[in-house]
Amino acid sequence: MADKMHIKLTVNGTEEEFLAEPRELLIYTLRERLNITGPHIGCETSHCGACTVTIDGKSVKSCTMFAVQASGKDITTIEGLGTPDALHPLQEAFKEHHGLQCGYCTPGMITRAAKLLEENPNPTEEDVRFGIAGNLCRCTGYQNIVKSILAAAATMNADASSSSDAIGQTKVEAAE
């Protein structure tokens, strides 16, 4: 029996500490040990992207990483983006534009799309399709997913510019 490893992770802002065998995959840590069931197990062969999470600011397929490799790192799952009462703009856009049917790929799709929009806040349709190439959807034909991501980008950019206007306004008022 191989020795268990002492693993420490931060998941959606909460520190977690536990002992696990080296072969424990991160997706199982999240779902079965920590009861964070947003990331899904789809293919378990790193093709489908249903298990996509963000680790230290980068999209990663959590079925193709051992929990021990993530020790000391900061992980964000779909649970860390928005809440039922205050949806993330991507969640709102997926709802508005029918970006999901069965919903199985959606947590991975949105977690990946959130990183994509951070890396490129003004993507073209081609950028979006290239950026979500590792996330498969068997329902929608991607059309409405792409539409949702582009709509979320527009909303987020409008919010950013109105909040920077607001900051500008405050500065003007302060100057006056």
């Binding site: 072969r23 790193s46 590792g134």
Partner: protein
Amino acid sequence: MHNTKYHKAGSAADAASLLSGADDGTVLAGGQTLIPTMKARLAAPSDLVDVSCASDMRGISVSGNTVTIGAAMTHAEVAGSSEVRAICPAICDLASNIGDPAVRNRGTLGGSVANNDPAADYPAAMLALGATIKTNTRDIAADDFFTGMFDTALDEGEIITSVSFTAPSKGAYAKFPNPASRYAMCGVFVASTDAGVRVAVTGAGSDGVFRAGDMEAALGSDFSASALDGATVDAGDMLSDLHGDGVYRANLVKVMAKRAVTAAG
């Protein structure tokens, strides 16, 4: 998956000593091939030696025309290196089209080269650029390194630490990806180097990456796509599977080679 032990190496020397102390250890870098292989029980190493943070296997340096890339650098890091892009954009473009974004955040150059998957992209670049594969014990020329499908000149316990190459005056990589796996069904890297034009092909050959001698000769006297009109590769030496037969792949080699030459300008 069978159980295993896990060790994190701080340096290549540290990794080598951890490997030598293991019954049947293996190097873990990004794990994008090794972990799926372990899940399928096609590999069951007694020990995993994680080199992803080995300090002397990280980093990129460009000195004059010489580019050195640490073996533990991820595809995303190579794709995003402005230093490398300035002198050899072809390798950044190649790295930016491996797998998908999440795979590129984990998979490493050293892992790809050491695995020598017959459809991997980096082996074509290493061979066409005439790269030197540096290990913890020696330097190996790319021409001697790739010894057949999934086979390399690496000895038991030998670890790739970096690769280095001279930036070509012209170079480009053209890939025809399998639409499902995004692995190359044919990828051709063309480089105009000090030692002449070199053309390396991945994804198509039945024994892994290879150099296309006829094409190198044709491009040596005339570096243009049309110079390849009469050049061929032997369909009998190509992979033949459900994705495409040997004749189809032989034709793809020519088409991708022409596209690479055109892109190299």
